[in-house]
Subunit: 486 residues, 2 copies
């Protein structure tokens, strides 16, 4: 009388059974595996067959009924509704549409049409840019977030700049830890660093403007400026940091993007004298400095040099920070510090591009900082990453000696290996097949300017979210890939 | 021996005492009200003076110590650190910087330099676009969010398109409720509707392209397209909805933005025949339709007409939805449904503009939909808004008869009043002074095309977050403002 619609179905442990049962059933109904009019087993029977509580099945049936996917017939049980599948399946027709059948798209999109977006296999060990997610104090965070969610006005709109209590907390942190000179009114909260980069691009730059950028440098910044579209010009590095002597003495550039406190990805650190030279150069040429204070929180052996932004009161500096690396990426909160006169234009641009950031999240973060958890967490993570860094450095020195050079500045959450052979993109693919993540160093170079040097072939490996106990095996796999080509 | 640093300080009830004490003390230290070297009262003394638990004061002192704001001297107590204030106060110098002292900004920003961003007084009653925040089931939401935050990989990066489980849940909802034809792979999760509009603008349009838009229409859309920058061309309304007969028969426009299911802000609804005409016109002229399915969830008396997107399998339609009105604005999640061939270019643009949306939030929302809470909440809110709408319509008809015409389509969370006098911007300012929010109808018209008609002077009033019991007094205040000018 009734079929078993989920024969052989197995449940995962990381989601509720109810959720999985509902999703499995509704998908099978929508894609036609369970036909319209089919009678479903009684909740008692299905519960028994699947080893679930009867309540779970009853609740799922109720949900499917509310959605109109199934209906009950008096005294006869539950049946799959008619007419549902026809609606779901007719979208197949769209698949046959050619691009030529659609209106035109933008020129920049046209160029990207056949380029799939690379997927971040961020769940594999050695993924770059992922902090230790298990070390995050989620219980404290959840308590604060619950409290914020219970203040109804924080669920609505509170203003485009970001919640004042968060801007106060950030301003204090920046003043104390980074010697940034700012009032809370100069801070603009953004939905992460990438949104902040786009905002700077939109607010300060015209399409076609020239932007100077470290090479190798941060891909996210390159993308934000390229899509304005701006013209990127590379400034080379020396000793793994921006080579101040290579700053152009005549240039029409509008902005220079840099990571002075932990060059991304090579890890060099500009000292105070270099910072002053850079600032002097920018003022002289009337060029914006976009200071991405990347990894300033994770210097293992010494306090980082104070931010360039605070070195003078007449600085053409936009300061950029994010909580993705210090707390967790999914928080999606970052910020800019901008000169007072520009606050309004930045707010206009933020409103046009993305609208408000979440006041409930902002309040949670403000409280997290104010109650001291942020400072405590940074200290804890600095120690943790230092330990991981020591372990990984030692392993690489022991097992990769002779195959790769190790660039391991005493800061941050990643390390760079350089080598001549094999090609780094090949190596990365081979490593993914072995369950190890990393990024090819050549990816961090501007597309046009990849002269073959011994410095642009290598691996960037992140140790932030990688447990120390896994490292020996992971380094061994890297050795395997590197030695095969010798 | 020690001063009382917080004489006269009063605590609020909506934040923790610890938080307020810490913030008050650190601000007074940083701005110099409590001078460097000052001894603070003992924790016992301060607790007594302020009526706080001693533990609270001790914890705050500990936090301030960790931040370096105060330090303890053996046996002598707590003192404000030296050198802190110098750093904090020297940012004052920046205030004196002139725009001329800074590098140039973008041309579009230049135009906005002296325009302050209007602040949303969204906390006043009758604020437009705010759902009933107290009716949101925050306990259920918090439980689901806590569960999501405990899955560490959801705190990291999971992919630019948005979590698959959320895209499945959205696809099902759209298929069942709106007859949208799509696979989960065609859905792109965005950080709200404004981010989605910017994404469409970046992906489909070149600077200078012509975009057709309802007039009056949605300001957020106008802003997103204007800042690309595109040229906006107005299509007038008839019976409060897009006038299909006014669609140009020859045009180089690239895209038409419309709100067919509840015209924003006037509230008209395109019927099936008009939808088909619009679709036919778009295909004939090879023009994108951006279908903003605004307020489709809140039709009081009948099911809304199916979405245009699903009326044909060869539709040049981009479909836009958001959870800001159905759940809460601070969630900051929306989505686009795009043709399969364009998914990759949209993902490129999303990555460049804003990066990922939050997987932890996406998982929470997916579970909220899958467990049936979303559908339940929509039903509850539909009834609630219907009740509020009935009440407000009756009040307006009773008390504003003869002073204003009422445009009250049986849907949504706002209502429009039109009148000849007074000027609507003046009326809005007078109402804010009386503690009542509303928006001038003239704001919803394209800047260039504000011919004086009897239809462009009025008030848009939101009843979503306004309790019914307050309405008589609020309508009375509107009457006051409208009658003063007669």
């Amino acid at each position: 009388m009734s079929i078993h619609p989920l024969a052989g179905f197995s449940f995962r442990t990381d989601q509720s059974l109810q959720h999985q049962l509902r999703q499995a059933l509704s998908q099978k109904i929508l894609n036609g595996e369970i036909a319209a009019g089919t009678q479903l087993p009684s909740s008692r029977k299905l519960a028994q067959d699947l080893g679930l509580g009867r309540n779970t099945v009853t609740m799922v049936y109720d949900q499917l009924k509310q959605e109109g996917l199934i209906r009950s017939k008096q005294g006869a049980g539950m049946f799959v509704s008619e007419g549902i599948q026809a609606r779901f399946q007719s979208e197949q027709g769209l698949e046959n549409l050619e691009m030529a059948d659609l209106p035109p798209i933008s020129n920049s999109s046209q160029k990207l049409l056949k380029t799939p977006v690379s997927s971040q296999a961020a769940s594999l060990p050695f993924a770059v840019g992922v902090p230790d997610l298990k070390a995050f104090p989620d219980k404290i965070w959840n308590r604060l977030q619950r409290a914020a969610n219970q203040r109804p006005h924080l669920l609505g709109y509170t203003g485009i700049q970001g919640l004042l209590e968060l801007r106060i907390a950030i301003a204090e942190y920046l003043q104390l830890s980074r010697a940034v000179k700012c009032q809370p009114d100069q801070i603009i909260v953004t939905a992460g660093a990438q949104a902040a980069l786009s905002l700077v691009s939109q607010t300060l730059l015209n399409p076609g403007d020239k932007v100077l950028i470290e090479n190798p440098g941060y891909q996210g910044a390159m993308r934000a400026f390229s899509s304005r579209p701006c013209n990127l010009e590379a400034i080379p590095l020396k000793n793994s940091k921006l080579d101040i002597s290579k700053l152009p003495s005549r240039t029409h550039a509008k902005l220079l993007y840099c990571t002075p406190t932990h060059q991304y990805p090579l890890g060099g650190i500009l000292d105070s004298s270099e910072r002053l030279q850079l600032l002097h150069w920018a003022r002289q040429h009337n060029i914006w400095l976009l200071e991405d204070d990347y990894d300033s929180e994770y210097h293992f052996n010494s306090k980082p040099f104070p931010a360039i932004q605070g070195m003078d009161t007449r600085s053409p500096v936009i300061y950029l920070g994010s909580f993705s690396k210090t707390l967790f990426p999914a928080l999606r909160l970052g910020y800019l510090v901008v000169p007072s006169q520009l606050v309004d234009v930045f707010l206009h641009a933020k409103r046009n591009m993305s609208g408000e950031t979440s006041p409930a999240l902002e309040a949670t973060l403000a409280e997290f900082i104010s109650e001291g958890h942020f400072y405590r967490h940074l200290r804890k993570m600095r120690t943790l990453y230092h330990t991981k860094w020591l372990e990984l450095t030692q392993l690489c020195e022991t097992y990769l000696q002779g195959y790769a050079s190790i660039l391991a500045s005493q800061a941050g959450m990643h390390m760079v290996l350089t080598f001549d052979y094999p090609n780094d993109k090949t190596a990365v693919n081979e490593l993914v097949a072995l369950g190890v993540h990393s990024k090819p160093l050549s990816n961090y170079f501007l597309p046009d300017i990849k002269e073959a040097t011994d410095q642009n072939n290598g691996l960037v490996i992140g140790f932030g979210n990688t447990p120390t106990r896994l490292m020996p095996e992971l380094v061994h796999k890297i050795r395997l890939v590197l030695t095969q080509s010798h």
